[in-house]
């Protein structure tokens, strides 16, 4: 008999950025069978459905974005990949792109130089953000107070403000392990883009408005739409990051000055994932080492080779096993009470041109949605053109070995071959 309930909260909330796609996350996880998997582990799985933000915004008179630009998510993502080679943060790139467009319109001079980046000094869509996050907060709080494990699936990482503020209330002394490539610790005064999904950690820790010239109203919790929110509900010492590698300069300075426990990818390199995980969990477990734990997992903390389907990829991330290890250790603590799973973008998960063509040679590659392990860079590490088709049902696939002899191949992997080792075939 199930002895505990896992409450699944679908939060397809992408107001914190300008790249949608993560709004498909909750549906995709349901379709994938997360409920079946949880039940198999002995959980009573209670799907609370997706929060209906559109209806909520209509009901509170915020149904119109007031002309806020709405972007074609996938086309923009591909343009970013092709243009920047993932060397520029996606949000920053979009902000610059829009700024250039606006200046060109204003001056009617297509040759006008791009302006220097200017801080936005605000939160884009603040009122809608606050209203939507309050909805998440209320649902998560109710589930947590009922004694359920709360699995909140985004959506972008802005949802952490709603979920973690609720969990801090339901579980006093909560420690948070935050897996992410980015610290999400900008403030309205330091954010290059003004997108809230880069700010939730700072907001939770009460950093808004504390920078020189910052918005005092925001510091006091007066950010429009966030009147319900308690800035500082998460003490700095109760937050530990794992996997950081893409930090804005001012964000880095703020982290260095703070009591936050930040384990970057360099720490993972230096100490190994086991030691880093041990240190991170211990750091947020409180004086008696018994604090309840929350895991806030941004899928972009994982290396893009293993998790390409996210809006803000950053190379050099956690491996498949490293990120699993963190989750396993949190479970083994027996103190995990909740989890956020965010920035999973099913629609941009397959066919990433940049990585497919990193060797600069033409390829025709079709990757099936269901191939669970796929590493395009390794696929073409020999620098030769290939035509590769990967079958949907091949559960184990190792492209490197496939072309390790350095010769062009036409390869077809049969749907029924669960383990395929072409090298052996060619011996």
């Amino acid at each position: 008999m199930p002895t505990r309930t896992c409450a699944f909260v679908g939060a397809p909330f992408c107001e914190g950025q300008n790249l949608e796609g993560a709004d498909l996350g909750p549906s995709a996880l349901r379709e994938a069978g997360i409920g079946r998997g949880a039940q198999k582990l002995g959980w009573n799985f209670e799907d609370l459905g997706d929060l209906n933000f559109a209806a909520h915004f209509e009901s509170v008179g915020l149904g119109d974005k007031n002309g806020e630009p709405h972007f074609d998510k996938l086309a923009l993502y591909r343009e970013w990949l092709a243009e920047t080679g993932m060397h520029t943060n996606f949000s920053t790139w979009v902000a610059d792109k829009n700024r250039e467009a606006l200046v060109n319109l204003a001056t009617d001079d297509a040759l006008a130089p791009a302006p220097k980046r200017k801080k936005t000094q605000g939160v884009v869509n603040a009122e809608r953000m606050g209203s939507g996050l309050r909805l998440i907060h209320e649902v998560v709080l109710k589930a947590a107070k009922a004694g359920h494990f709360v699995l909140t699936v985004g959506g972008d990482h802005s949802i952490a403000s709603g979920s973690i503020s609720a969990l801090c209330e339901a579980h006093p002394g909560l420690g948070v392990v935050w897996i992410d490539a980015h610290a999400d610790a900008n403030t309205p005064g330091t954010s290059p883009s003004g997108h809230y999904h880069g700010m939730p950690a700072a907001h939770l820790m009460g950093w808004f408005g504390r920078e020189k010239g910052g918005d005092e109203d925001a510091a006091a919790g007066g950010l429009r739409g966030f009147e319900w929110f308690t800035p500082g509900c998460l003490p700095e010492g109760q937050l530990a990051y794992i996997g950081l590698r893409d930090i804005d300069p001012e964000e880095g300075e703020a982290l260095t000055r703070s009591g936050v426990h930040a384990f970057t990818m360099r720490d993972v390199d230096k100490y190994g994932i086991a030691k880093v995980c041990e240190m991170a969990v211990a750091a947020v477990s409180g004086p008696d080492g018994k604090a309840p734990l929350h895991l806030s997992l941004d899928i972009d903390g994982v290396d893009p080779n293993f998790a390409p389907g996210t809006g803000t990829c950053a190379r050099g991330g956690l491996t498949y096993r490293e990120v699993h290890y963190i989750c396993e250790e949190c479970a083994l603590s027996r103190r995990l009470v909740s989890m956020d799973l965010v920035e999973v973008s099913p629609s941009s998960s397959v066919n990433s041109p940049l990585r497919l063509h990193a060797d600069g040679l033409p390829h025709q590659v079709e990757v099936s949605p269901s191939s669970s392990v796929y590493s395009p860079l390794r696929l073409h590490a020999d620098g030769l053109p290939h035509l590769v088709e990967v079958s949907p049902s091949s559960s184990v696939y190792s492209p490197l070995r496939l072309h390790a002899d350095g010769l062009p191949h036409l390869v077809e992997v049969s749907p029924s071959s669960s383990v395929y080792s072409p090298l052996r075939l060619r011996l």
Binding site: I34, G42, F149, L151, R321, A331, S349, V350, P392
Partner: protein, 45 residues
């Protein structure tokens, strides 16, 4: 390898990984899973 679970159906690599990670957090281990009943602070207090 841990993660591959026959409960998880057709999905993109990223979605599949995300589902697997949620299951790891819910106690799935390579050999002996953590039973839900052993999760402290749950079940109402």
């Amino acid at each position: 390898m841990h993660g591959d679970d026959d409960s998880i159906g057709k999905a993109s690599p990223t979605v599949r990984l995300a589902a697997e990670l949620a299951l790891s957090a819910l106690g799935k281990q390579i050999i002996a899973n953590v039973p839900p009943s052993e999760y402290k602070y749950l079940g109402g207090r």
